[in-house]
Amino acid sequence: MSRPKNQNYKGHGLSKGKEREQRASIRFKTTLMNTLMDVLRHRPGWVEVKDEGEWDFYWCDVSWLRENFDHTYMDEHVRISHFRNHYELTRKNYMVKNLKRFRKQLEREAGKLEAAKCDFFPKTFEMPCEYHLFVEEFRKNPGITWIMKPVARSQGKGIFLFRRLKDIMDWRKGTAGKKLTSLEAPPARSTVNPSGSHDARSSDDQKDEIPVENYVAQRYIENPYLIGGRKFDLRVYVLVMSYIPLRAWLYRDGFARFSNTRFTLSSIDDQYVHLTNVAVQKTSPDYHPKKGCKWMLQRFRQYLASKHGPEAVETLFSDMDNIFVKSLQSVQKVIISDKHCFELYGYDILIDQTLKPWLLEVNASPSLTASSQEDYELKTCLLEDTLHVVDMEARLTGREKRVGGFDLMWNDGPVSREEGPPDLSGMGNFVANTHLGCVNDRNNQLRQLFRSLQNQKKVSS
């Protein structure tokens, strides 16, 4: 049960001890009115609670989290769909800082080669505080294109491309720059805690009148991989059940989102060309609702395999695995790993023409609204399997490596496809337990899994 902390509450809940008890019904709460609601309502034994009722499971939005998490007491069994300070991973400026720090640490501990595995994020500078560093980098690479993104907005809002410093001078004079009197003024810094984490609230408090929006300037990837002359990015789902130890699951399905118009560097003002979010594409004059704009990852993987061969595709997908793991490791020490929390992240990946994957961003609240029938099915299955892994019904043993469409990717160490302990030596025979873009025969797998779990229970009782 969960209730506000200041109420009169006698003792702990019933669920003490190591055994997780089976609950008669699971009370859930959510404010999202889309695929998630359908999935929750259809789950056997799950009952919706509204308003102030007590809940066992809450799929909350981040604003609620910010305001209420710290005041809410949760029983041991209660689960909530976000980590308190997820923004360490999902806000672009924090993610960059954490990744840079992690990279340095990796270089110290394991050498340059290992550290180079963190080079999946395009060079990024926080604005306005790193403006000078940015200008230095800018001058070193004349003529390349940069992209300016607000740190905390989504769906492609507020993003623009530029090639000349003059372009951002104008922008600074315009909206976000209103707060700054001149370049020479000491840049606004958010308070940094000793652990390296950021306190989002206090940095908000620092702004007095107009809230200054933080931006990042990032090197634009000018040679994206094109299919049919169009740019696309990949949306991949990663479920993190805990950070300490790090336990992460990778979903087999996902999709490639296409830009509606053909890619060309000559029209950097045309945001429809460069931004692949469905939200932006929907407003493009070319957009026809019947057009999916999305390819399922299986189709994408097959397309690449027929064009480049299976080895190249294997390399690409294992590079992507590397992105997921390293990005999570970089915030491992910083995120408050509360056992009540889990989080379903939406990773945005861009592939360039050399088949190198780049991390664009990580979303803590990936869209769960379906844009087509196929999309609805994908998201329904994704959410059902998420709930299976969260396992409010206490059915799993905890030793599973696959649940439905989710494969256990990291369990305090790499997880191997083969049975037995993980091969940490990294030598030849290790094949990672990830199947991104592969066949997702989740129904069969779930049937077998739950049947064997039932049998185990019968045997042990």
């Binding site: 049919g228 002359g229 169009r230 026809h288 057009k291 999916g292 999305k294 087509s372």
Partner: protein, 462 residues
């Protein structure tokens, strides 16, 4: 024996005749001349030495592939006294049905043309030519006003014609007899039953490995997949068309599919092939055809709206516009029951000297035509190669799907085969579909897509 021998020599003569005009012949000649320089070629044993040289250098293999290709395409000659129509289609009533269907299509095309006062063909002004050339790689961005154009026909119109096919030698009285066909197709063509199909498609048997089944994630790759891939690579290295066709019956590895199909169809992008494609492209730039608008409309309605093919929209224009102008396609009408429509220069109706085939390739695109090309875009990314593959696929296979004939691989036989199998092995399902009136959808619409055309069909109903 004698008959077979004379048949064989006839076939050989025909193939030799065909190949003599080909580029391969010229290349072989050049190679033969050049080989005279080689030390191993001796005057005493000239013929054998050159043959040996061809074998070693791979030219013999190329010749084999070309012969194999011809054999695949050209049907065997029947009776020496048989007229050429019999090669197209031996049954008279089928020929008649195809003929009247063609008349309908042409009428529809001509009336649309008159209604809209658009010429069947016109030369583009220089400005327009330049514009089109600039936009060649992204013609999909064009949004011409196509509201007045109607597809010349839709698959359901064609289905209706097939349903109404009757053999005049058969008594199709009202009383039901054991001969009455319960399905849509009412012509008594011979189709294979399951035992015959099992024999015909022996490689799909349970004891033979198949990609797509025996390479699923549960099955260890050592059992079948690895070896099959290895053999595939060997077949490609040998560049043997016939071997490739045999190999692919057990499935093609994804990475090898594009090359294997090209090998089977005997397509290798020679400079002259690329040049030919460029020539077609020039034709497109210089002249605008009415069918171009039909192609645009079709692509916009079908492929562009498809979740998986919309990405390839630009390629589809680049292939289909050129295809319409490719007169080499006319060659396939020798064995196609259809005939290319004829049009007359303005004012000279009926005068044969002023007759031209329209469109130049003789194929009027219908609603859904672009879907023949769309799947190939997954494999081929270079327009001229994509074009060649599609053209070859069309003149070997696809044309049979929209012409009325008795050929066992033709659409009539395929529909009848489907219905007969359903009726024989799943009679309850078949009966149920009939009862609920799902006949067009249930039994035959597998072949006929259900997407609605925008605008009316040729019967005037929408």
């Amino acid at each position: 024996m004698l008959q077979e021998e004379s048949d064989l020599s006839l076939v050989i003569a025909q193939i030799v005749q065909k190949l003599k005009g080909s580029n391969l012949y010229a290349q072989l000649e050049r190679q033969a001349w050049a080989s005279l320089q080689r030390p191993e070629i001796k005057l005493q044993s000239l013929k054998e030495d050159i043959k040996e040289f061809f074998k070693i250098s791979g030219w013999e293999k190329k010749l084999q592939n070309a012969v194999y290709s011809e054999l695949s395409v050209f049907p065997l000659p029947s009776h020496p006294a048989a007229p050429p129509e019999h090669l197209k289609e031996p049954l008279v009533y089928m020929r008649k049905a195809q003929g009247s269907w063609e008349k309908r299509i042409l009428k529809s095309l001509n009336s649309m043309c008159t209604e809209l006062s658009i010429p069947l063909a016109r030369k583009r002004p220089v400005g327009e030519q330049k514009e089109l050339l600039n936009k060649w790689n992204e013609m999909g961005t064009d949004e011409p006003d196509l509201s007045l154009f109607r597809p010349v026909y839709a698959p359901k119109d064609f289905l209706e014609v097939l349903i109404n096919l009757r053999n005049p030698n058969y008594e199709n009285g009202d009383s039901l007899s054991f001969r009455t066909h319960l399905g849509l197709i009412q012509v008594p063509l011979k189709v294979k039953d399951i035992p015959e199909l099992k024999e015909f498609f022996v490689e799909l048997g349970l004891t033979t490995g198949q990609l797509g089944i025996d390479d699923s994630t549960q099955v260890p790759p050592e059992l079948f997949e690895n070896e099959h891939v290895r053999i595939g690579q060997k077949v490609l290295a040998e560049q043997d068309s016939a071997a490739a066709q045999q190999y692919i019956r057990q499935g093609s590895p994804t990475a090898l599919r594009a090359e294997l199909w090209a090998l089977i169809l005997n397509i290798s992008s020679q400079p002259e092939d690329i040049l030919y494609y460029e020539q077609l492209k020039t034709n497109v730039i210089q002249h605008d055809l009415l069918v171009d608008s039909l192609i645009y409309k079709d692509v916009k309605l079908t492929a562009s709206n498809d979740d998986y093919y919309f990405v390839f929209e630009d390629y589809l224009y680049q292939v289909l516009l050129c295809f319409s102008r490719d007169t080499s396609v006319l060659g396939h009408f020798a064995y196609n029951s259809a005939s290319p429509p004829k049009s007359y220069i303005r004012g000279k109706l009926g005068l044969e000297e002023y007759a031209v085939f329209y469109p130049p390739n003789g194929v009027i695109p219908f609603h859904g035509f672009s879907m023949y090309v769309a799947p190939l875009c997954f494999l081929y990314h270079e327009p001229s190669k994509l074009y060649q593959i599609f053209r070859e696929m069309y003149v070997r296979f696809f044309f049979r799907l929209h012409s009325i004939s008795s050929h066992p691989s033709g659409i009539v036989s395929l529909c009848l085969l489907f219905e007969t199998l359903l009726q024989t092995y799943l009679p309850q399902l078949f009966y149920h579909l009939r009862e609920i009136g799902a006949q067009p959808a249930g039994s035959c619409c597998v072949c006929f897509p259900s997407s609605e055309p925008d605008g009316g069909d040729i019967t005037g109903r929408s």
